[in-house]
């Protein structure tokens, strides 16, 4: 190892590069990763660190002791003898000599350990040094090996040709020991740097592979995309929907957005880049719906689901069905296979009429199904349509299910109105014994709570939902049966009493 150069320094420089690499993946969570849960985080971090330690230990500690294997080619035996004596005395390692380019090519081809430097005389009978230089460069292992041309002053016109043929440097004859030592020292340094770089590159490539493996997500996984205003993790999104009051979500719209051909993108992007791409997609969606109190979540398979309040439906409809976003240049192995852009496809929204848990789940499912249909290849869409035509029984079944669904909705909404009316009656008059018996315990509790809050005072002529106080102008109860909030023929009666009449609870 040359003085002033230690294994520790080499390791330090490799460590520096590793540190730089990790800093590029910096994340507020553990070890540069944003990891789904603590146990997984611990396991991944442990695996990662163990592999890092093993990889860093693979960096050779004797890199400073790198010896050269030199092949000197000259048709003059005396020149070869001088070079041999000079190079061996200067401790440049192994030196081989030969007197013709043809023999040199044989030695190069047969070498068990590749040569690390070549000294070639330009002017030789037969194949000259420049042609030999070109031939050497044709060996993949010698694409970057230093080649120093030996030339007398009168041959300087050949130097340009030599460099064009791939020469790294040249030495002039007569031989000067100091010049040769310096030039070969530079070649050795160059070679050492390349070797170090190659090894560091290998280590970094291995670490990136490890990083990719430990951060690998399945396509269908609902990846946590981190913090972003309006972006929720999928469980949080469901909780938000289920825990929000009915009135808060009434007539809200669930919509879905799907990334077209997301399978290809997932396959060809490294995991961290895929996650970054999803973040870009989420950001784009939120940006388009900015100012409309929208919440979205990523549910896996390149699908986002969102909820937008009633007043934001117009903007949803006004949006283009498709948004094109750029895919950033990848550092992965499959960059060439990646398209330059990806398309976000918005599916038709599914309106929430009755925000019960079942209704919300159905709305999510419907929204996702609609966007899947929209993103499916044309052949599949036609097949789906064909399938519908071929199986009228299926249509009947769907109609039946639809009718059942509507009936359920009616029943639920009737219950909602009853709750509301009971609240009003609780304020104005005692409910009938018959109504008391029918009211479920949960409803009674709600009624009591509402009465205790005393927040359900209504203006005459208006009808409000239970929680939000939003006006309901027209409500469909049963087929052909409507309650008009305004313009009723008997406007003297409070709306609550009119509704009570329709429902059969009126005692007057």
């Amino acid at each position: 190892m040359p003085p002033g150069e230690t294994a520790a320094e080499t390791r330090d420089s490799a460590g520096y590069r590793l540190k730089r690499m990790f800093s590029s993946y910096s994340c507020p969570s553990i070890g540069g990763f944003r990891i789904q849960d603590q146990s997984r985080a611990t396991a991944q971090l442990s695996l990662f660190l163990s592999i890092v330690v093993s990889l860093v230990n693979r960096i050779p500690s004797n890199i400073g002791r790198l010896n050269m294997k030199i092949l000197a080619v000259d048709d003059d035996r005396i020149v070869l003898n001088l070079l041999d004596g000079l190079l061996k005395s200067a401790d440049f390692g192994e030196v081989q000599t030969c007197e013709s380019a043809e023999r040199a090519l044989e030695l190069i081809a047969d070498a068990q350990t590749p040569f690390t430097c070549f000294l070639l005389d330009i002017q030789m009978p037969g194949m000259d040094g420049i042609e030999l230089c070109e031939k050497i460069r044709e060996f993949p292992k010698h694409r970057d090996t230093p080649i120093l041309m030996l030339t007398s002053m009168s041959e300087k016109t050949y130097i340009d040709r030599a460099f064009s043929a791939g020469a790294s440097d040249y030495l002039t004859k007569p031989l000067d020991a100091t010049e040769i030592v310096v030039r070969l020292g530079i070649a050795r340094q160059l070679m050492k740097e390349r070797k170090s770089l190659a090894e560091s590159t290998d280590v970094i490539a291995s670490l990136i592979d490890v990083l990719d493996r430990t951060t690998q997500h399945d396509l269908e996984e609902a990846i946590d995309l981190g913090k972003m205003e309006g972006l929720l993790r999928y469980p949080a999104f469901e909780n938000y929907l289920y825990q929000s009051g009915r009135a808060a979500l009434f007539r809200s719209t669930i919509f879905a957005v799907k990334i077209r051909n997301v399978e290809d993108i997932h396959r060809n992007l490294p995991p961290l880049e895929f996650k970054a791409f999803l973040q870009t997609a989420a950001s784009t969606i939120l940006d388009r719906l900015k100012g409309h109190d929208v919440f979205i979540t990523y549910r896996g398979d390149g699908e986002f689901v969102g909820v937008i309040p009633r007043r934001g439906q117009a903007i949803l409809k006004a949006l283009d069905d498709e948004i094109v976003i750029a895919i950033e240049e990848s550092e992965g192995k499959h960059t060439a296979k990646l398209p330059a852009t990806a398309t976000l496809v918005f599916g038709p929204g599914a309106s929430i009429l009755m925000p019960t848990r079942g209704e919300l789940s159905k709305a999510i499912w419907n929204a996702v199904q609609r966007v899947r249909t929209r993103t499916a290849p044309v052949a599949q869409q036609n097949q789906a349509r064909q399938g519908t035509r071929d199986f009228p029984a299926g249509i009947s079944r769907l109609r039946q299910e639809s009718d059942d669904f509507k009936e359920d909705l009616r029943a639920e909404f009737t219950q909602l109105l009853r709750d509301s009316l009971q609240s009003e009656l609780g304020e104005h008059r005692k409910p009938s014994r018959r109504r008391q018996k029918k009211a479920p315990a949960s409803v009674s509790k709600k009624r009591q709570a509402k009465a205790s809050r005393g927040d359900d005072r209504k203006r005459p002529g208006s009808f409000s939902s239970v929680n939000s106080g939003k006006k309901l102008h027209r409500v469909k109860l049963r087929a052909g049966e409507r309650i008009e909030a305004y313009g009723d023929e008997n406007e003297k009666l409070p709306v609550s009493q009119r509704v009570l009449k329709v429902l059969g609870y009126s005692n007057g």
Binding site: I78, L82, A90, S152, S154
Partner: protein
Amino acid sequence: MDNQSGSTNGTIQKAASNAIAGLEAAVRNSRAEFVARLPEYYKTLDHAAEAAMGEGILAPSVDEVMFIAHRIAGVGKTLGFPDLGDSARQTETAIAAYRCEQDSTVLRDISFSKIRHLAGLIEAICAAHGKCVS
């Protein structure tokens, strides 16, 4: 950094001094071999000079003369014959120029002169080393 730079310089100096020592040893071993070649070189150069004087051209033996001049220019100075090395280089350069312009009598004459000078130096060295060139 300065320490490292100083150490690197020291390494190069040490390697260079080792190289010089190794080169001197190689020179001692090769010098006799080089001197042994000189009579053959002299014959070739002398023959070329005589032919050129008679026919007025260098063409028939120009490649051979060029080869000898190149050989001597490459190692002459290193082996301790600086004048011989310089003369060989000048000869090589003159012949290279003449080959580019073979109609030039000036370049031909310069080349002829350089060949004669080189042959004379070889003859002197051979005489000094007890080698007969005739």
